[in-house]
């Protein structure tokens, strides 16, 4: 998937992946896509909840070898 910015939140634990994502979303324009890498298993539910509450769209969630990849489109 195409993306405009990448955030490496691997090794970080709650609530840092969300806080960093919020900051990174502030640095892209509306409609642009942020790719997020995380190793926090809690981040799967957290990013879904974050998207639901902020109106940013979670385009996809994938897991491979304990690593999670999210694509989020800025509102």
């Amino acid at each position: 998937m195409n993306f405009d910015k990448e955030l490496d939140a691997r090794g970080l634990n709650c609530p840092l992946p969300i806080l960093r994502a919020k900051k990174a979303l502030g640095e892209v324009g509306s409609g642009q896509v942020l790719k997020i890498l995380s190793t926090d298993p809690g981040s799967v539910k957290d990013f879904a909840a974050f998207a639901k509450q902020t109106g940013n769209e979670l385009l996809s969630t994938a897991e491979a070898g304990g690593e999670f990849t999210f694509f989020m489109k800025k509102k």
Binding site: G11, N13, P15, L19, Q53
Partner: protein, 169 residues
């Protein structure tokens, strides 16, 4: 849509209990909440300039696992339960427990309290310190970080009365 609001009363002054208010406030801010924390009684320690005052004590805290943050896996999994009477006799026991806790925090990619507090401030979480407890405990305003407001219960209610979430920690 109106902006959602959250108010927290932070009353605990230990390293472990410093986490919930700052984690929740920073996350709320990231979710777009207007957020305020009212620091009172021991919670005032969380807004001191010098955060090294924050310690964790396993004494009288049966819920706290005492595990080593280093060594092989079998060693790390041992829970070093120690009777309260012995803990209380060992000088510096709290300092050792605090150092081990800080190492465990770093090992797990958990943010430090100074970092979380700064993230809250960057996200414009409003900090209010209870003026009454500042005086009660003999603190000076110079003991605390900049950007604090000082007020009392009525100040808290002014904002808390309009919130969607209000927590006592």
């Amino acid at each position: 849509m109106d902006t959602k609001k959250m108010a927290i009363i932070a009353t605990k002054g230990t390293l472990d209990w410093a986490y919930p208010p700052f984690i929740l406030a920073s996350t709320a801010a990231a979710l777009g909440y207007e957020t305020q924390i009212f620091f009172t009684f021991y919670g005032l320690q969380l807004v001191r300039k010098d955060l090294s005052v924050l310690k964790v004590s396993p004494l009288g805290n049966p819920g706290m696992p005492m595990k080593m943050p280093f060594g092989p896996k079998w060693f790390k999994s041992i829970n070093w339960n120690m009777p309260n009477a012995i803990q209380s006799l060992i000088p510096g026991y709290e300092n050792v427990a605090t150092a081990l806790m800080k190492q465990t925090i770093a090992n797990n990619g958990v943010a430090t309290i100074p970092d979380l507090r700064e993230l809250c401030q960057e996200a414009e979480v409003k900090f209010i310190a209870c003026q009454m407890t500042v005086e009660l405990f003999g603190f000076e305003h110079s003991d605390f970080i900049d950007g604090l407001e000082y007020g009392g219960a009525a100040t808290f209610f002014e904002f808390a009365g309009e919130t969607d979430i209000c927590l006592f920690i």
